[in-house]
């Protein structure tokens, strides 16, 4: 198959049915994203992957690649919009990187570095979301949730457990645990679940790990997120997973 499109002026081959994001990732090209993951169906909610195709905005994780498309990706205009989206995510939750054990392995932080976000700009919401420490092996730190629904998809589609869901609307949207008590301990969730390792930020955390890997030696400390490695992919396959 010789179909291809242009991404920031570069030829990107694709196979029919692939999205722009999948084709770009397969070609080792980074399009900023948070809710997309190569192993899961696209969700299209964070909008970070927004590109311009023929002058019109589109989420690259959901739009199909088509031959001859001209796709703008890392332009100043788009990166500025992405920065704003990031700033909104930062102020909607409580993201205190300095003492967060996910620092250096966090896609939100790494993407903010990649896009040169220097301040949160907006007033913080400072939501009050208590942690759920009920499960013996996994801690839920809801303060950092960016509502990407990766855990929802992983638990439902891979683990077949349906442990997580989003509830509420608009700024009140939040992650909930599907149990009568709302506590993780009262589900059949296990630390070995796919959903336990998929969170791109610091919400779903294996307990008692903390800072065992020094800051400075973590996935995005070693290379920027644009290089393609994912913190949840310790095998280090990086780009090339077309998904």
């Amino acid at each position: 198959m010789n179909d291809s499109f242009l991404l920031d002026g570069e030829d990107i081959p694709f196979t029919p049915g692939q999205t722009v994001m999948q084709a770009a990732a397969a070609a080792g090209k980074y399009i900023p994203h948070l809710c997309w993951h190569p192993d899961f169906a696209a969700h299209g909610s964070c909008k970070l992957c927004t590109v311009k195709i023929g002058g019109r905005f589109a989420t690259s994780c959901t739009v199909r690649a088509a031959a001859g498309q001209e796709v703008e990706n890392r332009t100043d205009e788009l990166d500025a919009k992405r920065r704003t989206l990031l700033q909104l995510l930062f102020v909607e939750g409580n993201h205190f990187c300095p003492s967060c054990e996910k620092s250096g392995d966090c896609a939100l932080q790494a993407t903010a570095y990649e896009l040169g976000m220097l301040t949160p700009h907006f007033d913080h919401f400072y939501p009050d979301r208590p942690v759920d420490a009920s499960h013996p092996d996994v801690l839920l730190e809801f303060n950092r949730c960016i509502l990407c629904e990766l855990c929802v998809r992983a638990s439902r589609d891979v683990d077949g457990k349906n442990v997580f869901a989003l509830a509420g609307r608009g700024t009140r949207s939040h992650l909930v645990v599907n149990s009568d008590t709302g506590r993780l301990a009262d589900t059949d969730f296990a630390a070995t679940d796919r959903a336990a390792a998929v969170c791109p930020v610091g919400v779903i955390l294996k307990k008692r790990v903390g800072f065992a890997v020094p800051i400075g030696q973590r996935t995005y400390d070693r290379q920027p997120i644009s290089a393609g490695l994912r913190a949840d992919d310790k095998a280090g396959a990086g780009f090339g997973e077309a998904g």
């Binding site: 102020v91 003492s99 913080h124 400072y126 307990k207 008692r208 903390g210 020094p214």
Partner: protein, 488 residues
């Protein structure tokens, strides 16, 4: 590039997080209130410290493994000490009653690096301008820049000593500030042979310069004994950690205290039981508590911690040059403990020398390059970690629930331990230098020097350029303000 996640203004008082750095340090200056009695004599002097309100609350409800990193953010002045004290307390929670030799030595190295850099900063950057130029000298010159012009050699040594200490911290903690080297149960890194060799290259020079620093402060004492022996004298008991054999150990040991005459009050106390020994008194006018030895009561039981307490508390110092200097200090006191505020500087430099020698010794130890970093054991619910921070004894006490969240945190920081002593020193100085109903320039300067001698961990007192913003109020018996002076 860095994130500035703390740029928000205080949006609501229901927040837990806003009071962390920098908002909790809203008051960047020291505040002193001098209260007069009916005869317009100094009745009481209050040193107001706002840096530490309620920080235990931030820790409660957090997972324990986050704590050693988080506590570094509570106070920007000695993050390494909090990092280590918290780790020591949490070692017990994870059942690591004894950490591996590699972990123990890495932490010790980190700690002595911190002692070295902190003492160097305090002496050369903050205090040497006062001491070399005189307390009343022109303010514009009284800073490290002035020292660099007139005594370039001294300033250079100060800067390089500090840099070396910071380099030791960087390599052991992972970062120069806010590292993550220590974790509950051990450390997350060790040193390569090359890293040790690199540090060792400079270690001997640091010892030599530290010896010079002790000599400088000794000479200053000898030049003006009247001032050095009596200024801001606070006779009190004093406390600190010593090794079980009674020698100086700033990282780990047992609690020992002596009374003002040097007689042992208690010794060989396991610090897990500190709360049976010490009561923390709350006073309505201060955010900071006033701890005292429970057995002696609040009026008589307060004490000093820090370099002067430690150097006079121990029976010996395990490194030769520092031990030699300790003996001289003890001899100078003629068998009685020194209590003058300026003697702190002398003791502090002896400790800096001890730190430099200890760093050198540790760097020769192959355990630093070991691979056994972590250990653990039977889980416990409670742990106390104590360390001799640059400014004195630092207590971290935690209880952790079965769900791994901290349910109780109690911290007594060095400056809190010294709270009453600092207030007393400031009162003595005010008595001596207050003339009439006016706050003079001389009084301001002397108050500043007295406060600084304790090296309190106030952001104001540790301003890198050595200027301490200070506000002093003079209030009569009726509560009327007679005078107010501000020194920027």
């Amino acid at each position: 590039m860095s994130f500035q996640l703390e740029t928000a203004t205080v949006a609501s008082d229901t927040l837990r997080r806003v009071a962390i750095d920098p908002v909790s340090r809203v008051e960047g200056h020291g505040k002193v209130t001098i209260l007069l009695d009916e005869d317009n004599k100094v009745h009481q002097v209050r040193l107001h410290i706002v840096e530490f309100r309620g920080f235990e609350r931030f820790i409660q409800g957090r997972p324990y493994w986050e704590v050693p990193v988080m506590v570094q953010r509570l106070c920007g002045i000695c993050p390494v000490s909090h990092h280590l004290a918290a780790s020591k307390a949490l070692d017990l929670i994870v059942g690591a009653v004894r950490v591996t030799p590699t972990a123990d030595k890495m932490r010790r190295l980190m700690h002595y690096g911190q002692i070295l850099q902190s003492h160097a900063l305090h002496f050369f950057h903050l205090s040497s301008p006062d001491l070399l130029f005189g307390f009343g000298s022109e303010v514009g010159r009284r800073n490290i820049v002035g020292v660099a012009q007139q005594y370039p050699d001294i300033a250079k040594k100060g800067i390089l000593l500090r840099k070396f200490g910071q380099e030791v911290i960087r390599l052991t903690a992972g970062k120069r500030v806010h590292g993550t080297g220590a974790v509950p149960g051990g450390v997350n890194r060790s040193l390569t042979a090359d890293e040790r060799k690199d540090l060792l290259k400079d270690a001997y020079q640091m010892i030599a310069w530290s010896r010079d620093a002790v000599r400088i402060i000794k000479e200053l004492h000898q030049q003006d004994p009247a001032l050095y022996d009596h200024f801001g004298t606070v006779r009190s008991s004093f406390m600190g950690l010593v090794a079980p054999d009674g020698s100086l150990d700033l990282y780990h040991g047992v609690l020992r205290a002596r009374d003002a005459d040097g007689r042992i009050l208690f010794d060989q106390v396991d610090y897990q039981t500190y709360d049976r020994l010490i009561t923390e008194e709350v006073k309505p006018w201060s955010y900071m508590k006033f701890p005292y030895f429970t057995a002696m009561g609040p009026a008589a039981g307060w004490y000093k911690v820090g370099p002067l307490a430690r150097v006079q508390n121990c029976d010996s110092i395990p490194t030769p040059f520092a031990e030699h200097e300790r003996r001289e200090l003890v001899a100078y006191g003629g068998g009685k403990p020194l209590h003058g505020s300026l003697a702190f500087h002398w003791a502090r430099m002896i400790e800096m020398l001890f730190a430099a020698e200890t760093i050198k010794d540790l760097l020769h130890d192959d355990d630093l390059s070991g691979t056994e970093l972590m250990t653990g054991g039977e889980r416990r619910r409670e742990g106390v970690g104590v360390i001799e921070a640059p400014r004195g004894t630092l207590f971290h006490h935690y209880q952790v629930g079965d769900d791994d969240l901290v349910t109780m945190a109690n911290l007594i920081v060095s400056t809190t331990n010294n709270n009453q002593a600092m207030n007393t020193a400031v009162r003595e100085v005010a008595k001596q230098y207050l003339d009439g109903k006016e706050i003079t320039e001389g009084l301001l300067n002397h108050l500043e020097v007295a406060i600084r001698a304790f090296d309190p961990c106030l952001s104001c007192a540790t301003h890198a350029l050595g200027k301490m913003p200070l506000e002093v109020r003079l209030v009569d018996a009726e509560g009327t303000e007679l005078d107010r002076k501000y020194k920027a």
